[in-house]
C-alpha cells in the first residue's frame, strides 16, 4: 500500500544533540520582539529580556557566533542610558515630581525649543526609561536570535536567489575576527620596533597594513572559492535577471508602503494591507523565479521537526494574551508616578516562551571538549614520568 506523503519528518528524540532550525529561533525571537514592541511596562519588558537570556544561556552553542549576545547587551544598556540622558536636552512638558534641578544653559535664539538643563522631573526620566527599555528589549531579542541560530545554517535555509547576499554575510562574519587579529599583529610589530602603539599616528599606521591584509585575504578566498566550483553552471539570460530585479524591487516597495499603511500613515488602513499583500506576493514570485536556475544543492539543510513548531508556539501565548490586555497595563502612565499594574495572566503567558528550553534539543559541541584536553595532558605527564 503506498503510504501517504509524510508532512513532518520523523520526530527526533530530544536527547539527540542537533541544531534547531535557524528559522525557528529567528521566528521565536521575532515574536518576542513583537511582544516588546507592544508594551512599555517595565515588568513585562524585563520578563522578556530574562526569557531571552535564559534560553540563550541553556541553548547557545559554543561556536564563536554564540558570543554575540554580549555585544547586544552592551548596546541595550547604552540605549537606555542614552535615552535618559536625552531627557536633559528636551524641555519638560509634563510631570509633577521634581527630581533635581540642573543649571540651565541659555542657547542662541536659533535653537528655539531646545533647552539645556533646568528642572528634571521624575516623570520624564521614567518615561525615557520605559521607552529606552522597550528598544533595549528588542535589541536583546535580535541578539538572542543571533546567538542561538548559526549564521551559516541560516544561509542554507534562505531562498537560492538570496544566496549571494547570505554568502557575503557569512564571509564578513569570519572576516571580522581576522581583522582584529591582524590589527593586533601590526600593533605588536610597532611595539617590537620600539614605537608608540597608542595615539592617532600609530592608529593610522595600523590601518593601512590591516586593510592590505584584508584585501589580500579577500582575493585568496575568491580564488579558492572559484577553484572549488563557485559560480558554476548558473546561466541566466540578462532579460530574466532584469525581470527578477524589477519584481524584487517592486515587491520590497510594496512591503514598505504596506508597513507605512499599517502604521497609520495613510487615512485608509486597507490600502496599507493591500499593498503589503501585493508586495509580499511580488517578492515571493521574484525569489522563486530567480531560484529556478541556480543548480546548487544543499547539504543536510535544516528541517522542520516537531520541536521547531513547539518552540515557535511557546512565543505565541504572550502575543495573544497581550492583545486582550488593557492598554493601561501595557503602557502604564508616567504621570502621575505610579507603580506599573500587572496582569498575571499576561505575565505568565510571556513566561511560557521560556519553555523553548525544554522543547529544543541541545546544540552539539563545535570546539574541543575539555575532556579531550585532559586526556592529552595526562598522556604527556605519563610520558614525562
Amino acid at each position: 500500500m503506498p503510504s501517504a506523503p509524510r508532512r513532518w519528518h520523523k520526530p527526533l528524540s530530544l536527547a539527540e544533540q542537533r541544531f534547531l532550525h535557524s528559522g525557528a529561533w529567528w521566528l521565536w525571537a521575532i515574536l518576542l520582539a513583537a511582544m516588546a514592541a507592544g508594551t512599555k511596562n517595565p515588568i513585562f519588558l524585563l520578563s522578556i529580556i530574562s526569557v531571552v537570556l535564559l534560553v540563550v544561556k541553556f541553548r547557545k552553542s559554543d561556536a564563536p557566533w554564540s558570543k554575540s549576545i554580549k555585544g547586544y547587551l552592551f548596546a541595550a544598556g547604552f540605549v537606555i542610558i542614552f535615552r535618559i540622558l536625552l531627557v536633559i536636552i528636551t524641555p519638560d512638558i509634563f510631570g509633577d515630581t521634581l527630581l533635581f534641578t540642573l543649571p540651565e544653559i541659555d542657547l542662541p535664539s536659533f535653537f528655539a525649543g531646545v533647552k539645556l538643563g533646568g528642572e528634571i522631573k521624575a516623570n520624564t526620566v521614567l518615561f525615557a526609561f520605559q521607552e529606552g527599555l522597550r528598544l533595549a528589549t528588542i535589541l536583546v531579542c535580535i541578539g538572542g536570535a543571533q546567538s542561538l541560530a548559526s549564521p551559516t545554517r541560516m544561509l542554507k535555509s534562505i531562498p537560492a536567489a538570496l544566496y549571494e547576499v547570505g554568502l557575503s554575510i557569512t564571509v564578513a562574519l569570519t572576516f571580522a575576527p581576522q581583522l582584529a587579529f591582524d590589527a593586533k599583529r601590526v600593533r605588536d610589530a610597532q611595539y617590537l620596533r620600539g614605537r608608540k602603539t597608542t595615539g592617532i599616528p600609530a592608529l593610522a599606521k595600523t590601518f593601512v597594513p590591516v586593510l592590505e591584509g584584508a584585501m589580500e585575504r579577500a582575493l585568496l578566498l575568491a580564488s579558492a572559492m572559484d577553484s572549488r566550483g563557485y559560480g558554476r553552471r548558473i546561466h541566466q539570460s540578462t532579460l530574466k535577471r532584469k525581470l527578477t530585479n524589477i519584481f524584487m524591487l517592486g515587491g520590497l516597495l510594496g512591503i514598505l508602503l504596506g508597513l507605512a499603511g499599517l502604521l497609520g500613515v495613510f487615512s485608509q488602513s486597507k490600502i496599507g494591507l493591500l499593498t503589503m499583500i501585493i508586495g509580499i506576493a511580488l517578492s515571493f514570485f521574484a525569489l522563486r523565479f530567480a531560484g529556478q536556475n541556480a543548480s546548487r544543492t544543499k547539504y543536510r539543510p535544516d528541517k522542520w521537526h516537531i520541536p521547531e513548531v513547539l518552540v515557535i508556539t511557546t512565543a505565541l501565548f504572550g502575543l495573544v494574551a497581550m492583545r486582550f490586555t488593557e492598554n493601561i497595563v501595557l503602557n502604564p502612565l508616567s504621570s502621575p508616578l505610579s507603580f506599573p499594574q500587572i496582569n498575571f495572566i499576561t505575565l505568565s503567558s510571556i513566561w511560557v516562551s521560556v519553555l523553548a528550553i525544554t522543547f529544543s534539543p541541545k546544540p552539539p559541541l563545535t570546539s574541543r571538549p575539555t575532556s579531550d584536553l585532559f586526556k592529552v595532558s595526562n598522556q604527556v605527564n605519563r610520558q614525562a614520568a
Binding site: 611595539y191 620600539g194 579558492a224 577553484s227 572549488r228 559560480g231 544543499k298 543536510r300 610520558q383
Partner: protein, 535 residues
C-alpha cells in the same frame, strides 16, 4: 594525466618569463614532488594546473596546460572543480564555511550534486582521512594538522583526479606533518589519485615521491626519478648530503636506505667526536621563575623555570600550540605573565618601552614582513637607524653582511623569503640587543636561504648574542642550537644539550642522527668536518 606543452609564462609586472618553454607529462596515479628555490616559479606551476594562473593573477601565457584532456585555455578554474583539488599553504585562507562537515560539502553543493550522494561522499571522505570525530567541530578550533587534513578532505569530496598541494607541511610540527603525509600517501595508494606537491622540507617528503620536477629560473624545468635528480641537485635533504659526503653509491634517499651504509661510516668515525659548540657562559641573561600564563581558561604555560646565559642558542620545540610563541611574547613583554617572574638582562620586560626595549631584546615574528614598514629596503634601514639612534648606515651594512646582493630600492614585499628574514633581522640587530628571539624562522625558506640563516646565527652566537628560536625544524635546531627545550602543553618536558635531547627523541631527531645512531652525530657538517680531519 597532466600535460604541459611549450608553456611560457610571464607575470605582467615583471620583464622576464618565470617559466620558459616547459614541457612535462605527468602520468596518472603518481606522487610528484615539485622542488626549487623560493621565487623559482613553483607556485606558478601549481597554479597553472587549474587555471588560477593566469585567470586570477594576470600575465601572459603561451602554450597549453591540460588536465585529463581539459585545457586551461578553454575552461575557467571553476570548471576544474571536479577534476583538480587545490590545497593552499594556509588552509584558513580558503575556508568558506565554519564547520568541518559543511566545509566538506561546500564544493559538492556548488557542483549541484544530489543530496544523497553528498551525504555518502562526506561520510566516505571523513573516514578516509580519519576526521569522523571532528565532523561537528568549528574550523577555528582545529589544530594545524587537522586543519590541513580538513582542507584536503574538502577538495576530495568532488572526486577529483588530481590533488595539488602547496607546502602542506611547512607550518606543521613533525608529528602533524607525518599525519598529513600519511593521509596523502593513502590517497595515492588506495584511490590512485595523482598528487602534485611542492615542499621545501625535502627531508619530510622525498621518500614518498615517485617523480621530482625541478623548477629553476636559470635552467630548463625537467622531471625525473628522485634518485637521478638528487644525485646532482643543489637542493637535497640531509640524508642525501650525508651520502654525498661519505661517498655512498647508489645515493640513499631515505633514512632506511642510508642505514645500510651507516655501519661503514660509524667505524670510519669511531675515534672522532662531533664538534662541541657551547660557549663559556659569563653571566645569566634570561631568568624565568615559576612562570604561569593563561589565555582565559586555557593554561598556556605552567611552572616554567629557566636560566639562559649569554652566547647560548636555544631551540624551543614542541607541538603546535604547546606554548612556544607564548613564551617568546612573554620574554619581549608583549604579554603579561599571570604569575611568576621574568628578568631579561636584569630587567622586567614589561617595564621596557621604546628604545630601552629594542636595546635589550629583539623579536623577529613568524611573518618577518610584519616588522617592515617602509616602501624600500633603504628607507627601511634609515628608519631603523633613527629608531635605535644608530650611526646612519648601520642597518644597511648589517643587512649586507646577512645577505647577498639586493637592490636597495626594492620593495620589502618583493624580496624573497630569505631576504625578508635577513632584513627583519638586520632591523632588530641595529639596536644591538643582547637577546634575539626568532619565531619559526625557516618557514618558507629553501635550503640555500636556510644555510645562510644558519651561518648568520652561528656568527651571532660567537659574538655572545643569546638567541632563542621557536621552531619545528629539527634540522635547523641540530645545525645551530646549543641547547634544546621541549615544551608540551605549556610545560617543559626536557631541557638539555642539543646532542642529548635530539638524538633520544623519535619525533625530534634529525635525519643524520637517525642514520648514525647509536653514534651521536647530528649534522652533515659535523660528519664532513670529522672526515676532513681524518684525511
Amino acid at each position: 594525466m597532466i600535460k604541459f606543452e611549450n608553456v611560457t609564462f610571464k607575470y605582467s609586472d615583471t620583464n622576464f618569463a618565470i617559466l620558459e618553454n616547459v614541457n612535462l607529462t605527468i602520468p596518472a596515479g603518481e606522487l610528484v614532488l615539485v622542488v626549487g628555490k623560493t621565487g623559482s616559479g613553483k607556485s606558478t606551476l601549481l597554479g597553472l594546473l587549474n587555471g588560477l594562473v593566469p585567470n586570477f593573477t594576470g600575465g601572459d601565457l603561451t602554450g597549453d596546460v591540460s588536465v585529463d584532456g581539459r585545457s586551461i585555455r578553454e575552461f575557467p578554474p571553476r570548471d576544474f572543480a571536479d577534476l583538480v583539488g587545490v590545497v593552499r599553504q594556509d588552509p584558513r585562507a580558503s575556508f568558506v564555511t565554519d564547520l568541518v562537515e559543511d566545509e566538506l560539502a561546500y564544493g559538492m553543493e556548488q557542483l549541484g550534486i544530489a543530496p544523497s550522494t553528498m551525504r555518502r561522499r562526506v561520510e566516505e571522505v571523513l573516514d578516509l582521512l580519519g576526521l569522523a570525530e571532528l565532523r561537528n567541530r568549528s574550523l577555528a578550533t582545529l589544530s594545524g594538522g587537522q586543519r590541513q587534513r580538513v582542507a584536503i578532505a574538502s577538495v576530495l569530496t568532488t572526486n577529483p583526479k588530481v590533488l595539488v598541494l602547496d607546502e602542506p607541511t611547512s607550518a606543521l610540527d613533525p608529528t602533524a606533518a607525518e599525519e598529513v603525509l600519511a593521509a596523502i600517501q593513502r590517497l595515492v595508494h588506495d584511490l590512485g589519485l595523482t598528487v602534485v606537491l611542492a615542499e621545501h622540507r625535502l627531508e619530510r617528503v622525498v621518500q614518498y615521491a615517485d617523480r621530482v620536477i625541478v623548477v629553476d629560473r636559470e635552467a630548463e624545468v625537467y622531471a625525473d626519478r628522485p634518485a637521478q635528480v638528487f644525485a646532482s641537485s643543489l637542493l637535497a635533504p640531509p640524508v642525501v648530503e650525508l651520502g654525498r659526503t661519505a661517498g655512498w653509491s647508489p645515493l640513499p634517499l631515505t633514512v632506511r636506505d642510508a642505514r645500510k651504509f651507516a655501519d661503514e661510516l660509524r667505524t670510519r668515525l669511531e675515534k672522532s667526536k662531533p664538534r662541541i659548540r657551547v660557549n663559556v657562559p659569563t653571566k645569566t641573561l634570561v631568568s624565568v621563575e615559576n612562570l604561569n600564563f593563561n589565555y582565559g581558561n586555557l593554561r598556556a604555560l605552567r611552572h616554567i623555570d629557566l636560566d639562559i646565559s649569554d652566547g647560548e642558542i636555544v631551540a624551543l620545540m614542541g607541538r603546535n600550540g604547546s606554548g612556544k610563541s607564548t613564551l617568546l611574547s612573554l620574554l619581549v613583554g608583549l604579554l603579561e605573565p599571570t604569575s611568576g617572574k621574568i628578568l631579561v638582562n636584569g630587567k622586567n620586560p614589561l617595564t621596557l618601552k621604546g628604545k630601552s626595549l629594542i636595546e635589550s631584546v629583539g623579536l623577529v615574528p613568524q611573518e618577518p614582513t610584519d616588522l617592515l614598514i617602509a616602501d624600500s629596503v633603504i628607507n627601511e634601514c634609515i628608519s631603523s637607524d633613527s629608531d635605535s639612534d644608530a650611526v646612519p648606515g648601520t642597518t644597511f651594512s648589517i643587512f649586507e653582511q646577512l645577505t647577498t646582493d639586493v637592490s636597495e630600492n626594492a620593495h620589502p614585499r618583493d624580496l624573497s623569503e630569505g631576504e625578508k628574514l635577513s632584513l627583519a633581522l638586520a632591523v632588530v640587530l641595529a639596536a644591538k640587543p643582547p637577546l634575539i628571539l626568532l619565531d619559526e624562522p625557516t618557514r618558507g625558506l629553501d635550503y640555500a636561504a636556510k644555510r645562510q640563516l644558519v651561518s648568520n646565527l652561528q656568527k651571532l652566537g660567537k659574538k655572545n648574542h643569546t638567541i632563542i628560536l621557536a621552531t619545528h625544524d629539527v634540522e635547523l635546531a641540530a645545525e645551530v642550537a646549543t641547547r634544546v627545550i621541549l615544551l608540551a602543553d605549556g610545560e617543559i618536558v626536557t631541557d638539555g644539550p642539543v646532542s642529548e635531547v635530539l638524538s633520544s627523541s623519535p619525533m625530534f631527531s634529525p635525519q643524520v642522527s637517525k642514520v648514525m645512531s647509536p653514534a651521536n652525530w647530528l649534522t652533515v657538517s659535523d660528519v664532513a668536518f670529522a672526515l676532513e680531519d681524518l684525511r
